[in-house]
């Protein structure tokens, strides 16, 4: 004698089918997805309109001048200027920042994560490094002016590319340290145990296992830091980058950088005559700066992929 009859069973089935096939019309979820979509669209629109504006503005500079826009020097006529001194300055600063901030930043991060005891002093140091990452760039400019242009004049020769690279390296150092520390902290404990378990010293474990495993994360931080350093103008104004005539480019003389040119040229009025105005020159310089950052990013991404492949042991 069945307790559940066939008709009861089929009724239950129909009910279940209806319940699970009903359209999901939960109003708050729909509202949320729409809001999020608007946020994304707004961000993308801003980005693309910015890019479109820069590109269209920059076209005259490149189509009229061609390579001479890159290789020419700064002048007082918008249709004759070139950005070579700025390109040289920005590229040198980029290399300098990499050479100074990356070893220092990774070193500090390794010390703080692997070597330093987790005590009150260590926590105080870390909190302050985090705070330093939020200090306005112009403050670092003041610091650079006093230390690297003033006190270290025998080394930097005053307001030169060297002083600029040092200043910007100090500016991005907290970012490099923090991202590297986070990457190092994410290294599984088991990997360290494995190294120590076969008699490796702390240094050997750090060198052979911790740093290689953390490298992709460290590189991401480095690329972000470098992009920030290349884009800064305020600290360069403080340490005396010039915007006028610069007859020659060198590591020990006066210098300028692309953000300085953009800043300076954007403020000048477009003359009525000529095909290229100052706004076109500024946009051209902006496009070159974006390309420069992109080049450094691509190198960073290639390196990161290389280290990520190593992480799975191939």
């Amino acid at each position: 004698m069945p307790i559940v009859t066939d008709s009861q069973r089929s009724a239950t089935r129909t009910q279940v089918r209806q319940a699970i096939t009903q359209q999901n019309r939960h109003l708050p979820s729909i509202a949320l997805s729409v809001t999020l979509l608007i946020a994304v669209t707004f961000t993308l629109l801003t980005l693309f309109s910015l890019l479109a504006r820069i590109v269209t503005q920059a076209i005259p500079a490149f189509s009229e001048r061609g390579v001479s826009f890159l290789s020419g020097t700064i002048g007082s006529e918008p249709d004759k200027v070139g950005i070579w001194p700025g390109l040289f300055g920005s590229f040198s600063i980029g290399i300098g920042v990499l050479l100074i901030a990356v070893p220092l930043g990774i070193g500090a991060a390794i010390y703080l994560e692997e070597y330093a005891e987790q005590n009150r002093l260590n926590r105080f140091v870390v909190v302050n490094i985090r705070n330093l990452a939020g200090v306005p760039a112009v403050i670092y400019g003041v610091l650079g002016l006093i230390i690297f242009v003033g006190w270290l004049k025998p080394v930097t020769n005053g307001g030169t590319v060297v002083a600029a690279a040092l200043t910007l390296a100090i500016l991005v150092l907290p970012v490099v340290i923090i991202t590297s520390m986070e990457a190092i902290r994410a290294v599984p404990m088991g990997l360290r145990d494995a190294g120590y378990g076969v008699g490796a010293s702390r240094w050997e474990v750090t060198r052979d296992h911790v740093v290689p495993y953390a490298m992709p994360g460290i590189l991401t931080g480095t690329v972000l830091a470098l992009a920030r350093a290349l884009g800064e103008a305020a600290p360069l104004i403080m340490i005396g980058a010039i915007t006028g005539l610069l007859p020659e480019t060198s590591l020990s003389g006066k210098f300028t950088a692309i953000p300085m040119l953009i800043y300076s040229w954007s403020g000048r009025p477009d003359s009525s005559g000529g095909n290229i105005g100052w706004s076109n020159a500024a946009a051209g310089a902006g496009l070159v700066l974006l390309a420069l950052v992109l080049v450094f990013n691509i190198i960073g991404i290639f390196l990161r992929n290389h280290f990520e492949a190593k992480r799975v042991g191939t």
């Binding site: 494995a194 120590y196 076969v198 191939t314």
Partner: protein
């Protein structure tokens, strides 16, 4: 704690040389008596900050035997195990009291080089933790640290170690492949091979089978029997049947409520031959645990 990593530093501080001579002499005198245990643990207590994890552990461990540490969670068996090769050095808050003699040498003496200790007292961990490198490089890592080995010798050593760990036949055709592509059981045997490759004296195993299925577990247990004639093995396990199957001696730990705080501290209840521990334990807590009435 970073200073304890560099023996040179303690010598450079002065007086180190004298102490090491006396330490060596002490060792010489002690090793003259033949029945010296490989480990002599005396009144070992470990604190993590204010928290006392385990207290007053005293036991001797004999060579070429498998000793099992059993007990409920939090009883301090892993903590004691990690003291035996100074793995607790890396936990900032850990403080070790009492004395552990290894071949008659005080392991926590300032002249002892902890890296050398860990080379001689290898460790296999709960979760298989191969390096993200090739199978070959995993096994070769330890020997390469000491260096001075020809390529042919290294190849031989890697093969020998993988054979001993009963893994060679499964991986001989893909030594250059990533170790992370192996199954859990294979990874754990690779970790044992990596440990064997540095030719240790003792192998510490911290719940080596807890992440493995029964077949992989059986292989590891067979392997332990196979290699125990060359090594002294100490294994921490949650699994009483495993302790009964593989070990010669068993130490049972449990937790005791502290009178001053409501945190629990691990204590050693009983330590004897495995046979006796599982048939006629002398402490009723041991009996309750091994018969499954508690824990």
């Amino acid at each position: 704690m970073s200073t304890s990593d560099s023996p040179q530093e303690s010598v450079a501080l002065g007086g180190g040389a004298d102490v090491s001579t006396s330490l060596a002499q002490e060792q010489q005198m002690k090793s003259d008596s033949m029945d010296l245990p490989i480990f002599a643990v005396r009144d070992l207590s470990v604190k993590y900050g204010e928290f006392r994890a385990v207290r007053d552990v005293t036991l001797d461990i004999s060579e070429h035997e498998i000793t099992a540490f059993i007990g409920p969670s939090g009883c301090g068996k892993t903590t004691v195990l990690r003291c035996l090769n100074r793995m607790n050095d890396f936990i900032d808050s850990a403080k070790v009291e009492g004395r552990i003699d290894y071949h008659g040498v005080d392991l926590y003496h300032e002249d002892v080089n902890p890296n050398e200790v860990r080379r001689r007292i290898g460790m296999v961990f709960q979760k298989p933790n191969p390096f993200p490198k090739s199978i070959f490089d995993n096994v070769a890592y330890g020997p390469r640290l000491t260096g001075g080995m020809s390529k042919a010798d290294l190849n031989d050593l890697v093969e020998k170690s993988l054979r001993r760990a009963a893994l060679w036949d499964e991986v001989k055709d893909r030594l250059k492949a990533s170790a992370l592509g192996l199954s859990g059981g294979q990874q754990q045997r690779l970790c044992i091979a990596r440990c064997i490759a540095v030719e240790p004296d003792v192998i510490l195993m911290d719940e080596p089978c807890s992440a493995l299925d029964p077949i992989a577990t059986a292989r590891i247990e067979d392997l332990m029997q196979e290699i125990k004639k060359d090594y002294t093995i100490i294994i921490v396990t949650h699994n009483m049947q495993q302790a009964a199957r593989v070990s010669d001696r068993t130490a049972f730990f449990t937790t005791e409520m502290n009178t001053e705080s409501d945190r629990r501290t691990g204590v050693l209840v009983e330590y004897d031959t495995t046979n006796k521990m599982f048939s006629v334990p002398s402490d009723e807590r041991t009996e309750a645990y091994v018969t499954g009435r508690f824990g």
